[in-house]
Structures are given as C-alpha cells and as structure tokens.
C-alpha cells in the first residue's frame, strides 16, 4: 500500500529496518512505569472532587488515617507549602497562567480536581482509605461550554483574573471591509469541534523515590520529555536539578499528554520528598479520561472573500478554545496558532484573526497530536463549504487556489515563508488521482440517482510547521556518539520515544554515517543521567532535531576515525571512506583497516595516535532546529452514509504526503496511519461529553468509544520526498495524520449529505448527529 521512491536510500537510512525495540516488547520484557518496583515502595491514590465547582468546607482525613497500612493522608495544608512553579519551562512566566498547586485548596474547579492524597502500603489500601476521606463542598454554579463562559455576568472560574477569557489576541489587519465590499462572494460559517482526549493505552504514572540522606530524587516516569520533567520536578520540590534524575524506559503512548509533566506526577514527586519515601502512582483509566487533559473543544468562525473565479481574496478567522479549569502553560492551548497558520496551502492575499481562550469548570486542555489542527480543520471544512456555496467542485477550488511550485518561495499574510521544499500541489493531484476522484463523482451520481445511496468524497490539504526552532527549550537536541574500545557504539539522546521507534531510527542514522552495522549501535534515551539536555519527543521534531544531532555527531566521530586510520595506514584522511565496518582508501579497497581496530587504538594504544590528538573516540553535537520546517500532505477519502441508520462507513482512505527524506518508511507509514485513525476516531466515535452541571459522562471505554480494527479501512499511503533544507533532509511526520484526517472525513460526510441539501458544520458525526442533521432538513 505504500509507494516510495527509495532511489536515494542508503544502506540503513531510507530502509524499513526492523525495530530494535520489538523483541523485548513482543515478549513482555518491556519496562513501563508500572513494571517498576522499589524496596519499601508506597502506593498513592488521589481523592478528587466529584463536583465541578464548589467551595471546600472541610476535608476530614481521620477515618482514612486510621486505616491499617495508611502511611499518610496529605492535603494542600501539608503539600502546597513553598512550592515553585508547576508550569512548563517553555511557558512558565506567562501572564495567562493560573496558580496551579499540588492539591486544590479553597475552591474546586472541575470534576476530578485533586484535593487530597492517600499514601499507603498497597494500592488497594490506598483506594480503600481514599473512600473514607470526607470532602464537604458547597456547590457553586458551574461554567460549562463557550456560551456559559462568555455570558455577561457569568460566574468566574478564576475570580482573581476578573474574566473567563484568559487569552484574547486580536490580530486585526486593516482593509477587510473593503475587500469584502469588492468581492464577488463572501461566505461565512461557524464550525464546532467537540472535546476529545489523547487516550494513550498506558495511562500516566510515576515512581518517585527520594533519599533523604543524599538528597536525591529519582523519578521513573511515563514521559515524552525526561529533561523537562527533571526541570519542573526540581522547581516544584526544591531539589536542585543535578540531584533529580528522570528515567523513562518504555512509554506506552502519549500523543502530547506526556510532553509536559502534569500536576499529578509533580504532586507525587513533592509527596515523595515530603515523606522521604518511594511512592508509586499509576493513574487509572477513569482518572485518565476525566483528569489528565482534554483537547480540541474549539469553535471557529471563518469568513472568506472570493472573486468571481473562486480565488481567495482574504479571510477572517474567529477562534475560541476551551482551556478548562487548570490549564498548564499559556492557557494550555493553541488558539493564536489557529490564526497564524490558517493560510495553509493556499495563496491568501489577506488574513485577519481574533483568538481567544476561556476558562471553564472542566478538565484542563492540553496538547493532543496536532494541537492547533483547527487551522486545518476549520479551513478545509470551510473550503468545501464555500466551494459548494458558489457552485464549484472542492477539488477544482483547491486547484485554483493552491500554492504551486512556481509560487515558491511564498510568504503568507502572517509573514511566514514557505521555501521550495514543499509540494502541496503535487500531493493534491496525487491524492485526488489515487482516489480516482472523477470516477468516484460519476459513481456518486449514479448511486444517488438510481439507488438513493449517499456517497461522498472529501479532501484535506495542509502544511504543517514541524520542529519549531524558535521555541526554546523545544528547539535543540544533543547527541553523544561514543565508540567503545571494541568498536561498538553507544548513542545518548535526550529524546523520549513513546512508540516512534527512536532506538531504531537514530541507530540507522548513526550506522549510516559511521559505515558500520546497525547491530553494533545502541541508542540510550529517556534518561537524564545518560544524556545531555534535550527537547524530548513531540511537535513532530525528533526526525529533524534528533536525527540531525546524531548525523553531525557521527560525522565528527568519522572524521576523527579517519584521522587515526590515516596515521595508522600512512594515507591521507580525505582519501578514506568507510563501509561495512572497514575504512579503506578510495579506489584501493585492499588498503584498509577495521573501524573496530581504530577504536581500539583510540583507547588502548594511545601512543599510536596522531601527535596532540585527544585519546578516545566520541563526539557530541547539539543541533538547533531552523525556525520552522514545513511538511505537507493531502488526504482524500470516500464514504457511504446510511440515511436510515446515520452510520458512516469509510470506503477508501488515501494519504499523499511529503515528510522529506524518510529514515524508515515503515515507521513513517505507522505514524501516519496512527494519526489518521485518531482523526477518524475523533470525527466518528470519540466524544468527551459534560452535562450542563459539569459532570463528565464518558468515564470508561464503554462511553468513550475508540476505533477498533473493525471500523478502520486500509490506509493507502503515498510519498513524495522533497528534502527539507537541513543536513538529513527530514521533516516531521508524527502529527500530520491527525491534522489532516478530521476535515477529510467531515468533508466526505458533508459531501454525501449535500446530495440531500443537508448542511453540516459540527463534529462529531456519530449516527445520532447524522440522523439529527437529516431530520432537521426534513428527511
């Protein structure tokens, strides 16, 4: 199902090398955080608010403290004292931040708000005792949803902030009214995006161990970002950074949820230091669904001005996002990015926008794979909406407006420049051709006219900013490539692989550069003790930042190996090449020396080294990402909507994407497929619902429905490889699938319903919503 031009592939880079992680994971020998046990380890359970908004009158812990096996029951009185900022390092001095504390005192702000922590000899005892903690709360009116939050005189989620709007960024450019007055068409629509959540199969968890004698805190974590976790644990506990160690071995998914350390894990770290003990906390699924982070929950109004040919004259975007009660870091969301990146793959002469984020009495908003996907979702849904409104086919509309090769470099109205390494036009054509767009249109007409069936086709085209180089501390990764005396190689990286297979892909890059076998390379990552500071894994960054750090550190090692080999062989270093673990003189393969022999000399026969050369064979390189690296893709899918049951069936799903030079095509396809299926799940199944009082109604997998293999079609993935302007030519690929899919599925359903003149603007599109839409239009 994959077409790849592997013409430029190396021996390892560009090959679907089997993963080094797999043997241990396939035999049950992985080490996830709950697999970690320490001598004398205690277990923790949070006591959480079961109301959305209310004043705490009292917390009675006596009965819980009396339970056999309970070591401590802690509240804010004990744990909130003298804490440093719990905010992510990236945004920890932001004016929009709320004062998050380990355990809520005073007023609880959402169902799930932690108010006490029980620490006991076993998880079962901790849970039993938690039931005995009596929390007495005077209920207040809950603020749930955009309308409630924005209502004049609404109760305030954070009274000290004076408003429920925590972020208000108008980027209003002059001239919009004039553009609209002169336009042939002005179309506007509002799109509601429902609340979802990441749902990694491994919930969050931590084993925090504090040794009062040495003052060291060691946290085993399920995290995407060990160095960030260390920084924030250091701040919140007061343990200096060098005495905090964070270790993450295997991490069972995150999709953004484990990029910044949340409040609960920080609280366990604080409790471990407070009690001078080792404490394990493994989140249960209910907690993960209601109290980790939610995402999406956006409302976006788009106004487009078009000329008589359907060409874009300008756009205005009004974006509101729901940040929940205790968002970490700058409202936890990405509202301004929805405006800033709205241009996407189209020639857009004018853009003006207004972005707001509101606090509500719900679970915090946090990053979820493509946090600002609404720029694509709202734009691509609007494109179809507008094309229909002016009687033009959506593919034709995109062809007229897409940025073509001849337009590059192209600068958006928000002053961002696409260099010539993007290929939106090519992906649009490829996706439409593979899905057989014209033939499908004919079949759609036939099926509707002769059988009354509702078929639809959807497209979604986007450009994604990856590996943001302007966002410290997410901009750099440092690779330490260390050759051992036997010639084997160990690579230390600060990444936090959580399914991406970085132990394999980074080894591919190193083996390729050093000309040695991949079996001779081990990548050690996810541990602050073994690696220099790094950005972790997220934001579609590791292929760009991690791989280039590995490549450049390896190149330095190779240069040094050549210098040593040149000395040993009495040859010129720049005449040498290396492959299959052997360094040879170019054109004279018989003259050579093993890479392993060079390594041995570097450590064990240092007298033979060139005059003045430092013994050892290793190098460290810090790669700083360019301000932004653009990846692009086009998704296309076809669906059938059952007009009697409201069920949507996806018939075909095609992705044409350009992530630059691929390191491991199988892993690239896996990332895309995983993201697409999360996108499909989001449109058709997943919905984190609150009732008007702020009670979460999806607290198990019986109510929060995830897609299974039975509902998911084959994802047909095609690649266009335009190298990015960085040493390896790579772009990001982790998030794109989840960015492109929602609008693609939505547009296909909207296309099918348009046969009956039914218009939709909101997700999700489960059977009930589809039937409601049909009914509302009189069907």
């Amino acid at each position: 199902m994959t077409t790849t031009d592997a013409g430029s592939a190396g021996r390892f880079v560009g090959q679907s090398v089997r993963r080094k992680e797999d043997p241990r994971l396939l035999t049950g020998r992985g080490t996830y955080v709950d697999d970690m046990s320490l001598p004398g380890m205690l277990h923790a359970c949070f006591v959480r608010s079961n109301v959305a908004h209310g004043r705490i009158v009292s917390i009675d812990c006596d009965a819980a403290r009396a339970v056999d096996g309970v070591v401590a029951v802690l509240t804010g009185t004990e744990l909130n004292v003298g804490r440093g900022s719990m905010q992510p390092t990236l945004m920890f001095e932001d004016a929009a931040n709320v004062a998050v504390q380990p355990l809520t005192e005073g007023t609880v702000l959402f169902v799930g708000d932690p108010v006490a922590l029980v620490v006991a000899e076993s998880r079962a005892v901790a849970e039993d005792a938690a039931e005995l903690v009596e929390v007495n709360i005077d209920m207040l009116e809950a603020v749930v949803g955009f309308d409630a939050a924005l209502l004049e005189g609404a109760p305030l989620v954070h009274p000290d902030k004076g408003a429920n709007v925590g972020q208000d960024m108008p980027v209003i450019m002059p001239g919009w009214d004039e553009i609209k007055a002169d336009a042939a068409h002005v179309v506007s629509a509002t799109f509601n995006q429902h609340r979802q959540t990441n749902v990694p199969m491994e919930t969050r968890g931590i084993v925090a161990s504090f040794d009062p004698a040495s003052g060291e805190l060691h946290a085993y974590l399920s995290t995407q970002n060990p160095h960030e976790a260390r920084l924030v644990l250091s701040r919140v506990t007061g343990v200096p950074e060098h005495l905090v160690r964070v270790t993450a071995r295997d991490v069972g998914g995150g999709f953004g949820q484990k990029m910044f350390l949340f409040r609960d894990e920080q609280t366990i770290g604080a409790a471990a230091v407070y009690l001078g003990r080792s404490i394990k906390w493994i989140e249960d699924r209910r907690e993960n669904l209601i109290a980790s982070n939610h995402a999406r929950a956006d409302r976006t109004t788009v106004e487009l001005a078009l000329d008589a040919d359907g060409k874009l004259l300008g756009a205005f975007v009004d974006e509101v996002e729901d940040a929940g009660a205790w968002p970490l870091g700058s409202m936890g969301g990405a509202a301004p990015a929805v405006g800033a990146y709205f241009t996407g793959a189209y020639k857009l002469p004018f853009l003006s926008w207004h972005a707001r984020a509101v606090w509500t009495n719900t679970c915090q908003r946090g990053a979820y794979r493509g946090p600002w996907m609404m720029e694509t979702t709202a734009r691509e849904q609007m494109v179809d909406y507008a094309a229909r409104a002016i009687g033009m086919d959506p593919w034709e509309w995109r062809r007229r407006n897409v940025v073509k090769d001849a337009d590059l470099p192209y600068t958006t109205p928000m002053f961002m420049t696409y260099d010539d390494s993007i290929s939106p036009d090519a992906t649009l054509e490829q996706a439409a051709q593979v899905i057989d767009y014209d033939a499908f249109r004919a079949e759609q007409r036939r099926a509707f006219e002769s059988e009354g069936r509702l078929l639809g086709v959807g497209l979604s085209l986007y450009i994604e900013p990856c590996a943001m180089g302007m966002m410290d501390p997410l901009s750099t990764e440092t690779a330490n490539v260390r050759v051992m005396p036997s010639g084997k190689v160990s690579v230390a990286l600060g990444t936090g692989s959580h399914g991406q297979g970085l132990e394999t892909t980074m080894a591919q890059v190193v083996a390729e550069e050093l000309g040695i076998d991949i079996d001779d390379v081990i990548v050690v990552q996810g541990d602050t003790a073994s690696s220099p500071f790094g950005r972790g894994t997220g934001g579609s960054g590791s292929a760009i930042i991690g791989a280039n750090a590995c490549r450049l550190a390896s190149a330095a090692v190779r240069d040094k190996a050549f210098a040593i080999a040149a000395q040993l062989m009495e040859a010129a270093a720049n005449d040498l090449e290396v492959s299959d673990g052997r360094i040879t003189v170019k054109g004279t393969p018989a003259r050579g020396i093993d890479f392993a022999e060079v390594a041995r000399v570097a450590y064990l026969e240092t007298a033979k080294l060139p005059e003045g050369m430092e013994a050892s064979l290793e190098a460290t390189h810090t790669y700083k990402a360019p301000p932004v690296t653009w990846a692009n893709a086009c998704h296309a899918c076809t669906v059938e909507v059952d007009r009697y049951t409201g069920l949507v069936k996806i018939l075909r799903y095609v992705v044409s994407e350009d992530c630059g030079k691929m390191i491991n095509p199988a892993i690239v396809d896996g990332q895309i497929a995983g993201g697409v299926v999360q996108g499909i799940g989001g449109v058709l199944f997943e919905h984190m619902i609150y009732d008007p009082d702020g009670n979460p109604l999806a607290t198990t997998f019986m109510d929060y429905l995830l897609p299974t293999a039975a509902e998911i079609p084959t994802i047909e993935i095609h690649h266009i490889e335009t190298p990015a302007p960085n040493p390896g030519g790579h772009k990001g690929v982790g998030e794109g699938g989840a960015i492109g899919a929602p609008a693609c599925v939505f547009n296909a359903v909207a296309d099918a319903l348009a046969l009956l003149d039914v218009t939709i603007t909101d997700q999700p599109l489960g059977p009930r919503e589809v039937l409601d839409a049909l009914m509302a239009a009189g069907h």
């Binding site: 797999d22 994971l25 996830y32 990694p200 249960d284 199988a666 497929a673």
Partner: protein, 161 residues
C-alpha cells in the same frame, strides 16, 4: 481481609501464592509473580491489553479473580514464544509488519491472535478485523496489526508444512 492460598501453572511452571479474594488475575500475575508483560489498560474489560490464555482460552485477566484461576493453566506473553530469546510466529509477524509502536497493547494482541489462529488457521480479512475488534491499539491505526495476522497465518503454515 484474609488471604487465600492459590496454585496455578503459569507458562509451564507451577506457581503458588497468597492473594486477597478481590485481587484480579492481572494484578496477581504482575504483582505477586512479577510477570509484568501482561498489561492493564482499562481494568474494565474493554481494551484487551490484559489478555492471557486460561486453560487455552483467551480471557481478560482484569475480569478474572486470581482465586478463580486456582488450579488453572495460564499462558502469558512471557510464555507464548517457543523458548526464551526466540519469537513465535505471531510475534515474528508483528515484528515484520510493524504491528506495534509503543508496545503497550501488544501482549494482549499477540495472545488474542495466537488463540484465534489456533482455532481459525485461515481467516478472511473481515474475520481478522472482527476478531481484532476486541483489542484496542491507540498507536498503529491497526494497519500493521491486520497485516501481521495475515503474515502469521503464513508463518504458521510454513512451520507446520
């Protein structure tokens, strides 16, 4: 709460332990027997991550009490391969087809698929998807997993040919 003594055979080995009546088989395997390959993804019987073989049948070990398994023969992911350090056909197929990413759901899938293929050696694509719908994977989008089940049927056939 009083403990009860139970004895089960796990991966061919006779194991004894004491457990509270309320302890699930999943927790018993993980906490008492230190077999941490069996994963707990939901604790309410939906995700399938905790699947083990109980007297040859695939069961969700989060829904079985340890005391109910007294006397039973259990196979976990640690015992599904032919011998330590070697992969069985289903494991091999998952590796070849990139049927896993984070690996958290994987033990449940491998055990479920092993039991399924023992009963249905030549399933159709629809039957495979239907069978897989009892397990949730959040990473792979199921593409590699479906391919792996097809590949496993070939590997099993080759091995028995």
């Amino acid at each position: 709460m009083t403990d009860q003594a139970i004895a089960i055979t796990v991966n061919g080995e006779r194991r004894k332990g004491r457990t509270e009546a309320r302890t699930t088989l999943a927790d018993f395997l993980r906490d008492e027997l230190a077999l941490t390959g069996t994963h707990v993804g939901c604790e309410h019987g939906v995700c399938g991550a905790c699947t083990v073989l109980l007297d040859g049948e695939a069961v969700r070990s989060c829904l079985v009490l340890a005391v109910q398994a007294d006397g039973a023969d259990i196979t976990t992911i640690e015992g599904i391969g032919p011998e330590p350090g070697r992969l069985g056909p289903v494991q091999q197929a998952f590796m070849e087809c990139h049927g896993l990413q984070c690996g958290f759901c994987t033990p449940g899938f491998v055990v479920s698929v092993t039991s399924f293929l023992a009963e249905q050696p030549a399933p159709t694509d629809d039957e495979i998807r239907e069978m897989l719908s009892g397990n949730i994977c959040r990473c792979t989008g199921y593409q590699g997993i479906v391919a792996a089940v097809h590949r496993a049927t070939e590997l099993i056939e080759e091995a028995t040919a």
